[in-house]
Amino acid sequence: MSRKPYLREETMRWVFRHPRYLRYMAREFSCLFIGGYGLLMVWGLKRLSEGPAAWRSFLEVLQSPASIAFHVLALGFALYHSVTWFKLTPKALPVQVGGEFLPDGIISGAHYAVWAALSLAVLILAGAF
């Protein structure tokens, strides 16, 4: 009997095979916005180091419609990124106490709590209160 296995070529079509792959790609795509936002912060620091005039012009650029649109998008993607990752944390970090595993909500809830505490610390350091 002759064997002649046929391998079907993998194309990028898998992305559309099921909505889960689109959701995954959206999560991966979010890194562009988060990375972009990081670069923006670095650029801001550089302008700050260049004196008050440079800093003021940086703030003006931030107020442009394009910058506001970018911020809204970046915020959306950052939230999507964080929420989807936090939802996955119980898989990566199961905690067994005695015979039972802690419920998923406790593991992801703890992540939200740490997130909130760190955000609060940053706000306090920034003199928001």
Binding site: P5, E10, W14, H18, R20, Y21, G99, E100
Partner: protein, 247 residues
């Protein structure tokens, strides 16, 4: 008993005569409570004895009837016709070479399974007269879920990483390695790490999570892989930042 005419579109490939696979349509009268596997059996018995596919248990236990049903990796014996409208498209499991019709070549998976040493490597050798290895229910629970795998390979067909990078050891094999690593009787982790903590091991995984969504046994391979990543990362830090801890 109500009957329904079902249109099946089945990918056919005969290596002796075909240069490439092609779809063939079958129109079959099926009972309402049938699964896709029943429809295929009916085709084979009444219309086309040349149709090839794997199956054995017809009860979601053996793991041999995995195929793509309307583009989703599924067990044909667990996919009820009543859940599908219109033409049902049946293809061999994605990412595996096609041997014939719906039969795939699974050598790659079998070789990977062997590489991860999916068997108990006792931490301490025990003589027969010392009796059995003992384990508490809590210790059993630690890995129980990962024992449920039946090697159906649906997770490989769902995993885009495996499709793009075939050398990736993949969800089921790594989960099984993790199952033994988590076993209190086992001492083989170091031997398995060479395979699963390598680049083509767990680090090829980008946590799409599709494996866990399609797994018919709720093994949750994605969870196993992330746990292996975390443990391997901890290993790395301990070895590089605190080498004195190493025995």
């Amino acid at each position: 008993m109500s009957e329904r005419r079902v249109e099946l579109e089945v990918l056919r490939y005969h290596p002796e005569t075909d240069a490439a696979p092609r779809f063939q349509r079958y129109s079959v009268d099926c009972r309402e409570e049938w699964v896709v596997l029943d429809a295929l059996n009916h085709v084979k018995e009444t219309l086309d004895p040349t149709l090839s596919y794997r199956w054995s248990c017809h009860m979601a236990v053996c793991g041999s009837c995995g195929m793509m049903i309307n583009g989703e990796p599924r067990l044909a014996c667990k996919s009820f016709l009543r859940d599908y409208q219109g033409v049902i498209r049946v293809e061999p499991l994605a990412h595996f070479p096609i041997e014939r019709d719906l039969v795939t070549v699974i050598d790659d998976f079998m070789a990977k399974l062997k590489r991860v040493k999916p068997y108990l490597i006792p931490a301490q050798a025990r003589a027969l007269e010392q009796g059995e290895y003992r384990q508490t229910p809590a210790e059993l629970k630690r890995y129980k879920q990962f024992t449920l795998c039946m090697n159906c390979m649906l997770c490989y067909a769902a995993c885009p990483e495996y499709g793009l990078i075939p050398k990736f050891i993949g969800p089921a094999a790594i989960s099984l390695a993790h199952r033994y690593n988590q076993d209190s009787r086992d001492g083989g982790r170091a031997a398995r790490q060479e395979e699963i903590a390598a680049a083509e091991g767990v680090w090829e995984c980008s946590f799409t999570g599709a494996c866990s969504e399609v797994c018919p046994e709720h093994v949750d391979p994605a969870a196993a892989l992330q746990q292996v990543k975390i443990k391997s990362t901890v290993d790395w830090y301990l070895a590089h930042l605190m080498p004195w801890l190493k025995k």
